[in-house]
Every structure is written in C-alpha cells, then in structure tokens.
C-alpha cells in the first residue's frame, strides 16, 4: 500500500510540513538512484532538485494509479536520463550494469577446487551470525553498514536502494532503469553479496 497516501490531500492543500516530510523521506534514495546516471555528486543533487520541482508542478495532475514513491522515481529516471545524455554520458544503464556484475558473489577461494574432495562445495563456509538483529542495532554497526552501501558501484546502489530500501517490485525497477529482469537480479545479488561479505568481516572483527 502507499504509505504516502495520507500526505496527498495535505500536499494538495499546500501543507508545507507534508511536503517537507516527503522530501525528508525520499531525498537520499532519489540521490542514490540519480548517482547511477550522472558523473558527480553535485549533478546528482541538481537532478534530484529538478525532480522535486517537477513533482511540485505535477502534483495536481498526479492520478493515484501508481504510488507517490513510484511516481517520484519515474520523474527522477526521466530527469536523470536527460541529464546523463546532455553530459554525453550516453552509456546506457544496462551496459554500465554489466561491467559491475562480472565478479562472483562469493570469492572463489572459499570453495573447494577441482581435484579436492568436493569441488564447488564450501571450503570456508559462512559461519552462522549470532543474533545479528541485536548487533546491527548499534549506531556503530549502522554507520559501518551505511559506509558499505556507499562504497558500492553506483548501479548496484541504485538497484539495492530501489529494491531493499524502498521495497519496489523487481518489475518496477526493470521499468525504471531499463534493464532486463535477469540483469536487475544479478545487480541486486552482487550488491547484497558485497554487503553480506562486509557484514561478515564486521561481525568477525567485533565478535
């Protein structure tokens, strides 16, 4: 369901607080997605501001066929593509994504090799995490996690943000970013796998 739906009437009535709430809620996510299209932080920030201005202008015409969130990301994708083209960064998202998705999800040396007893099976299996929810609740752990996300390639950040932070469906993300279902899934998995590996190291260091 659209958790922003209650804001809509207030937005249309010109309630500034409702608008500020919407900006606070989505600004960072919009920026992470914009970053996948354009070359610098500063340009991404501009694209997000253009997105908000377009949303303000379009608010009266918004028909609740999509959620406000999906609508915002659609405006953003259009602005970001236009800007990316104007920057002559004409490489489409899909081919940027391909370059990011060639590494394996888990380092090959964690598996047994040809000639070992069980080729392809774990040589260094993941150790179960002890009470991860509790350990992830600390401020330090959250900082660590945020840094790990920020270190991902831009395309992976974009897909991870749309799927795991904003909770969009796979098909919606494919539509927004012009990627195939398979490609979308590979990028998402790369992103999760990298963050998982990071958390694994963090949990071992802080055990």
């Amino acid at each position: 369901m659209d958790r922003d739906a209650p804001l809509l009437a207030a937005l249309r009535a010109g309630d500034e607080e409702a608008f500020a709430t919407l900006v606070m809620r989505y600004h960072a996510s919009l920026k992470r997605v914009a970053r996948a299209y354009v070359s610098t932080e500063a340009v991404a920030e501009e694209v997000v501001q253009e997105t908000w201005l377009a949303a303000i202008a379009g608010l009266d015409r918004f028909e609740q066929r999509a959620t406000i969130k999906t609508w915002l990301f659609h405006i953003l994708a259009n602005k970001a593509k236009t800007r990316g083209t104007r920057e002559r960064r004409t490489v489409p998202f899909a081919s940027l994504a391909r370059a990011d998705s060639e590494e394996p999800a888990v380092s090959p040396d964690r598996f047994q090799r040809e000639g070992d007893a069980w080729p392809g099976h774990w040589a260094m299996p993941p150790r179960p995490w002890d009470d991860p929810e509790r350990r992830l609740a600390s401020l330090e752990a959250r900082e660590h996690l945020r840094a790990a996300i920020a270190a991902l390639p831009a395309t992976q950040q974009a897909v991870l943000t749309l799927r795991d932070v904003e909770g969009l469906e796979a098909e919606e993300v494919c539509g927004l970013l012009d990627v195939s279902a398979g490609n979308q899934r590979v990028i998402l998995h790369r992103a999760r796998a990298r963050v998982r590996a990071d958390l694994e190291r963090y949990f071992e260091e802080t055990a």
């Binding site: 900006v23 606070m24 501001q49 908000w52 201005l53 394996p104 991870l160 932070v165 999760r192 796998a193």
Partner: protein, 87 residues
C-alpha cells in the same frame, strides 16, 4: 551448471533469484534438493536475507537533505501553491 545437481558455488550466485521466486521449475527443484542437504548454504541464504533487511533499516532519517536545500524546496512548494509556479 551441471544438469543433475547444484553445488555451493552455484547456489551462492542464485540466492536472490531463489528469494525472488523467479526460478524455472527445474532449477528450483535442484536448489531445494541442495538446500535440504546443505546447512552451509542455508546459513548463507539466511545471511543474504538478513543483509537485505539490514540495508532497509540502515537508511534512516539521518540521510535527509541539507537544511538550505530543504528550505529552498519548501519555498518552491509555497510559491507554487500560491500560484506563482516553481519556474
């Protein structure tokens, strides 16, 4: 990928596809056979799920825009509401 079974290295690539319920039936069957036997891959799968949840929780209000940006946007919103239009 081998035809008759999936090994851990292959499952490590397939966890998100499995969680999305996007697998063809033949692959799904092989994956479920593998997971039934392999504690380690079940641990790995759980960690991928925990990671996805943790990512959602980590993106907090601390990532909000800088105050001047927010003020400028609220000004634009006010201007539009009063009928001046944002541009």
């Amino acid at each position: 990928m081998t035809v008759d079974e999936i090994v851990c290295r292959e499952f490590a690539e397939l966890a998100t596809e499995y969680l999305d319920g996007a697998m063809p039936d033949e692959t799904l069957e092989l994956v479920e056979e593998h997971l039934a036997m392999c504690d380690w891959c079940r641990d790995y799968l759980r960690q991928i799920q925990t990671t996805a949840r943790a990512v959602a929780d980590a993106a907090g209000p601390e990532t909000a825009p800088l105050a001047p940006t927010l003020d400028a946007l609220v000004d634009a919103f006010r201007a539009h509401t009063r009928g001046d239009g944002p541009r």
